[in-house]
């Protein structure tokens, strides 16, 4: 915030920095930002909820699984993977597994269309995956950590 002279335009960059450090944006953080930048809390909250990138809830404790639902991946069955995950592990996009170990997210496009369908497991891009493979990875995580 200081770097940008406490201007109102610093809001989005500030939210990025907070999320990078803490993983998500909680109420305290939003209140602090609003006070420091002299903005109404409603405006801070409005901006936070407008953009998909910002999270108001903590993500899964240890791992993230991002499924690409871009055009190329959609055509190659990304939706079927999501359906399988919901049926077999009870996890929906935006949520986490029951034990809170793995969060499941979707991405618009990972720009790895040559690898469709693609998923990102803990920041590692995996291409040409099947539903069974994704479930196997996610189960491995939940088992290993318990």
């Amino acid at each position: 915030m200081r770097r940008m002279g406490y201007g109102h335009h610093a809001l989005i960059e500030t939210l990025h920095s907070i999320q990078e450090s803490f993983g998500y944006l909680d109420e305290d953080a939003l209140r602090y930002v609003a006070t420091t930048l002299r903005l109404p809390l409603s405006r801070v909250y409005g901006v936070t909820t407008f953009y998909q990138f910002f999270r108001l809830k903590p993500k899964g404790e240890h791992h993230t699984c991002v499924i690409c639902v871009g055009t190329a991946c959609h055509l190659k069955g990304a939706n079927a993977i999501l359906e399988h995950l919901e049926q077999r592990l009870g996890v929906k996009p935006g949520g986490a597994t029951v034990d809170g170990k793995v969060s499941l997210l979707t991405a618009r496009c990972l720009a790895s269309c040559g690898l469709a369908p693609a998923v990102v497991l803990d920041g590692k891009v995996m291409g040409k995956v099947t539903a069974d493979e994704v479930i196997a990875w996610m189960q491995k995580w939940t088992h290993r950590d318990t």
Partner: protein, 536 residues
């Protein structure tokens, strides 16, 4: 930085490069990184050190080489050998075969149309230079256009060259770049801004990302030239928050340019100042729309506002603002270096130069390509793309993402250009090109894009906010098979309404996928209806 210093760096870097017998270039684009090309690069570097080959051989990470389908790619220069599907285990063999015959097993043929038919201007350095070293860019004639403009040309002469080149905005709408520049330059104001639009929200498109990752200095140079031409001294590069690597490389590049005095105060000992900052997007498709993008940079919700006034008169914080797409700006340095007339020789009338496409779907050679305008879709898909993968039959090609449309086989011989594509109901778009095979249902494709637009609609204007949701549900009735003839009529009526009355480009173009599939694949909609009749 004075011209002589730049020359000195270029000569020194070239001399250093010539001294080496071998250059290994490892692709560190996103797709290849996903397949561990960073480990390959580290391993090669380690092996070279271990065998004390530093004096004759160097390894560098470069931007996307294009042929993502067979990555990771490693190129050996000056032999022009290209290795495909390299693994970490292959690195020792590559080092051993530096002087010997290339390894047959890994060899990727470079005489195929994929490489031969491309015409690289925007991507000329991508895949050739190390994006994290400014010296590499300078050795490839980088920043000479900027220095030439600053020392020998007036701002209006720079604009004159851009007007003559016939360059049109590569973001999708195709507004003539020279015209935009001269509008901004004519507005009198104490402050002006230049913004680079790198909010590549279109799913299936990764052209801008590849340029930003593979050749960030080119964008900086293009922006500095634009700023000089229109009289701005501050600039922002707006990049999607998801593009970690691109942001990192851009920031490195800006720092390096500042250190050499290419950005900052009194550039090249002239009175021209230019300060550049990056801004992160946070995942909103609508922010590709220029007024929404400006709102985001100001730290607000990315809601578009009615135009006019256009950003060229009333933009960022109310000051005149020039907004150009990444690919547009990447075209600027070569235009200034070689002259606008040179650029105008490429491509047909009204669509000059080249276009970068991200080719995806069930074709053999997926990846990033740059082709001259006027090439036909058939040439792109069946020659450069290598045709369909066995077992798949061509059905349609989708261009322009959620704002574009699908074209069937009968239009494959259409030359690629802004106007020719618009005539058949799609758009050039930012460059996503997705081939669809016969297993996909076109209604489902249309519904997929509508789902996208429905989610991404900012909610400011009613036709887009409500219309996209209604269209989505209507399409859902078709995929479920419960649609009636009235639904079809309603669908067409609603498409027209949303197209005509929405506030910004997102809503105005949202019905395009539906309209184009209705136009060319109407039988599929009818088949879905008939199915419903049977089940009733």
């Amino acid at each position: 930085m004075i011209p002589e210093e730049l020359e000195k760096i270029a000569l020194a870097t070239r001399a250093e490069q010539d001294r080496l017998l071998h250059h290994l270039r490892v692709c560190t684009g996103t797709a290849c990184l996903a397949l561990h090309s960073d480990q390959i690069k580290d391993n090669l570097t380690y092996l070279i050190q271990q065998r004390s080959l530093e004096q004759t051989c160097a390894v560098k990470g470069v931007g996307c080489m294009g042929l993502c389908a067979v990555g990771p790619l490693v190129a050996l220069q000056p032999q022009s050998t290209l290795y495909q599907r390299v693994t970490v285990d292959d690195t020792a063999a590559i080092i051993e075969h530096l002087d010997a015959h290339p390894i047959e097993r890994l060899l990727c043929p470079t005489d195929i149309p994929f490489f031969q038919r491309q015409h690289k201007i925007v991507l000329e350095n991508t895949g050739q230079i190390d994006p994290e070293h400014i010296e590499d860019y300078i050795a490839a004639d980088g920043y000479t256009a900027l220095i030439q403009a600053l020392t020998e040309m007036t701002p209006s002469e720079v604009i004159e060259q851009v007007v003559r080149s016939g360059l049109r905005g590569r973001g999708g709408a195709g507004y003539p770049t020279g015209l935009k520049w001269s509008t901004v330059s004519k507005v009198r104001s104490t402050r002006k801004f230049v913004i680079c639009n790198g909010d590549e929200g279109d799913p299936g498109a990764f052209m801008d990302r590849s340029v930003l990752e593979g050749d960030p200095h080119r964008i900086i140079e293009g922006m500095a030239l634009a700023a000089y031409a229109v009289g701005a001294s501050e600039g922002f590069i707006y990049v999607r928050g998801e593009y970690d690597l691109a942001i990192k490389r851009l920031k490195t590049a800006i720092r390096q340019a500042e250190r050499l005095g290419i950005l900052g105060k009194s550039i090249c000992s002239t009175t021209f100042d230019f300060h550049l900052e990056t801004r992160l997007g946070a995942g909103a498709f609508v922010c590709g729309e220029e007024t929404a993008l400006i709102a985001t940079i100001e730290g607000q919700r990315g809601n578009p506002r009615p135009r006019p006034p256009y950003p060229s008169e009333y933009g960022l914080w109310g000051f005149p603002t020039l907004i150009n797409n990444v690919e547009t700006l990447a075209n600027i340095p070569p235009i200034i270096r070689n002259g606008g007339d040179w650029f105008a020789t490429i491509g047909p009338d009204h669509s000059k130069g080249t276009k970068v496409f991200a080719l995806a779907g069930p074709v053999r050679n997926t990846g990033l390509i740059e082709v001259p305008m006027g090439i036909t879709l058939r040439e792109i898909i069946f020659e450069i793309g290598g045709g369909m993968i066995e077992g798949h039959a061509f059905k349609a090609v989708q261009t322009g993402g959620p704002s574009g449309g699908c074209l069937p086989e009968q239009h494959l011989d259409l030359p690629v250009g802004y106007d020719s594509l618009a005539q058949v109901g799609t758009i050039m778009g930012s460059g996503g090109m997705i081939v669809i095979d016969d297993t996909a249902s076109m209604v489902d494709v249309a519904r997929y894009f509508m789902e996208f637009c429905k989610t991404e609609s900012c909610g400011k204007c009613v036709p887009c906010r409500v219309g996209t949701v209604q269209l989505y549900h209507l399409l859902g009735r078709f995929t479920e098979g419960s649609a009636t003839a009235e639904d079809l009529a309603l669908l067409e009526e609603l498409c027209d309404l949303v197209k005509q009355t929405s506030l910004c480009g997102l809503g105005q173009s949202a019905p395009n996928p539906v309209l184009s599939t209705l136009r060319y694949f109407r039988d599929e909609y009818l088949a879905h209806m008939a199915k419903g009749v049977v089940t009733q």
